[in-house]
């Protein structure tokens, strides 16, 4: 069964690393739903959040293929973990005077902020899960969406434990192979 997986990928912050990751996904026919990249808590290490859709074994193969890239330090699938996954969206909504109050109300319900306004439009910024953003957009659609940008998800597991690289070395502890047996040490 195909489902959506959220992968955290820690990579060395080298030129071209995003290209390597994306090129790998394309040539192996893995579909990327969204990808985000930015700094992590460690200098020299970037953190990507990749959302991919596939069967469990396909996504496991994604992880193993990613590990073959020299810059990849850690891959963690947060799908089963209790994780927070959010994206940011900015929407420019047509806002005629008679709709303004209603739009502001919708924004409030979704904890969205108005970050710019003109006599004919509102620029709304929202942060939340993909579903939540989708719902916000459904609500705003009727007023006329002039422009939209979404970042794609960034994700982090809840709890005290961190997705990090122990003692500075890459980890590939256990990769689950086929029937669930441990395929890899170290």
């Amino acid at each position: 069964m195909k489902k959506r997986h959220t992968l955290v990928v820690l990579v060395e912050d080298h030129p071209g690393v995003l290209n390597r990751v994306v090129s790998l996904m394309r040539r192996r026919s893995f579909n990327i739903d969204s990808i985000t990249v930015g700094h992590s808590e460690q200098p020299g290490v970037s953190r990507m959040t990749l959302v991919v859709v596939g069967r469990d074994d396909e996504v496991e193969q994604v992880g193993k293929q990613l590990y073959k890239l020299m810059e990849v330090l850690k891959v963690q699938d947060l799908t089963e973990a209790n994780a927070v996954s959010h994206e940011l969206a900015m929407v420019k909504v047509a806002a005629k005077a008679q709709h303004r109050a209603e739009i502001l109300q919708v924004a409030q319900i979704f904890d969205a902020k108005v970050v710019d306004a003109t006599p004919s439009s509102l620029l709304i910024e929202a942060v939340g899960s993909e579903d939540r953003i989708d719902n916000l957009l459904t609500m705003l659609k009727g007023f006329g969406i002039r422009e939209l940008v979404r970042t794609g998800a960034v994700a982090m597991a809840r709890g005290a434990q961190a997705t990090a690289i122990k003692d500075g070395r890459a980890e590939r502890e256990t990769v689950i192979v086929a029937n669930g047996s441990a395929g890899m040490a170290t």
Partner: protein
Amino acid sequence: MSVTEKLPSATASSAGASHGVERQLLSGAEITCRSLEAEGVTTVFGYPGGAVIPLYDALPRAGFKHVLVRFEQWAALAAEGYARATGKPGVCMATSGPGATNLVTGLADAMLDSVPMVAITGQVVQPLIGRDAFQEVDITGITLPVTKHNYLVQRVEDIAPTIKEAFYLATSGRPGPVLVDIPKTLFIQKALYSYPSTVGRRGYQPTSTPNMRQVRLAAESIARAERPLIMAGHGIMLSEATEEFRQFVEMTGIPVIFTLLGLGCFPESHPLALGMMGMHGHKHVNDALDECDLLLNVGARFDDRATGNVNGFAPKAKIVHVDIDPAELGKNIRTDVPVVGDAGEVLRQLLPEVEQRRYQAWTDWIEARRNIALEVALEHQPESPEPYTIVREIAAASNGEAIVTTDVGQHQMWTAQYFGFDHPDRWITSGGLGTMGFGLPSAIGAKIGRPDLEVWAVIGDGGFQMSMNELATCVQENLDINIAVINNGYLGMVRQWQDLFHEKNYSEVRIGGPNLEKLAEAYGITGITVRRTVEIRPAIERARSIRGPVLMDFVIEPEANVWPIVPPGASNTEMMHERRFADTE
């Protein structure tokens, strides 16, 4: 070793004085050469051009030999031939732009067949990068999917550490090609040279020591099996584990089948060796695959030409897969017991865990499935040379000791089926990529790497015409290579598919070519034409007695086919056999 450089003495001595280790101020070109020397490189295959002129300026003083080829693609494949024959990394170099793009096929070939290789390319001067400069191509971008890793070096100080890392990556874990792109500017700039002794790559730690839990699971599966089979791959040779493998096979008594690239990792003449599997494998081998209850794959990926349709592959078997690349486990075939590790290390761990056994009923069952009719028929020699006979005669004349390279096509499969490989690293063929033109350049690399061994290149008339320009390289280096062109006047393998699967619609497969004896004469080498079976043996003996390259033209039956064959998309048991021998089915 290298000749000491003439340095501005003041700089050199002050540099030397301020450091404990001796460090010298050298140009990037000299640093490149020194680094290759430090890696123990003795031969590089290459072709000069604008971006590497400064590098070539330093070459005459380098401590290794440069072999000038006639086309960069064949430099890459010569480097591959060298690597496959010696087990050491092959090195090739080319200029920017067209020189670099010409290497691409060779890199892809090495990538798919896990061959250790380092390619050095020149890049345009740094200020022009990204401006579509003359002979600029983004070769790191282009080769990204066909290299294990690649680099665009940005500072002259980085050349030595990058080359160090490139060799480490190319040769460790699952070997593969690594490309180092160096802008021309850096060849000219100077830096203090010292070769690093370590490589620190956080994101690269190949697992060579297996997880003992998995090793024990593998041993338990072996203990429970009644009809086990070992599928032996190239990885056994890459890990230099042929001795461990032999011990393991003789201990466990499990019969061995080979992938195309696995041939030679265990003597084919051994009673436990069954022969090659897959599309052109032997009938009894594919039958055994269908019947086995345990398949132990050591050092092979499950390539589709080996497995046939995966849905019909080893349907009754529990699958144990030993591979150093975790991504191969479960990639194409469901795996019951994955073992990540170096083949040699895994076998050493596994050996004490298994018992001595023999599987008489099982091996009898397999032997009974041999296509005897075919084997008998092979003894009857028609007037015009049978390809099988040519291959067998070459094997016999060289006592099975020769290095044999092939091109891609029917002659490649005939050679794989009938040479009978008893030694590791003597069978050099393009498996994963199936690169036509491979035969001659890889023979050049192999001969230069192993001048002590007899070298034969068995090549189709089509593939020969792709790389025959390398005859000039053979002459230039006076290489003792016997080139056997198996001349059917066709792109034979494609013709065979058109014959069998496209109603004999022979579209664009008839291929003429030069008179090979005259061609040999033009290059100043010996040419021999063989048209009759009786001439095969004397011609081979004559070729062997001649020092230097010999070009042999074996004119065979134009429409001879490779049998048996698994039709595309079918499973391995749905083999087609030659009509006259099909009755054994």
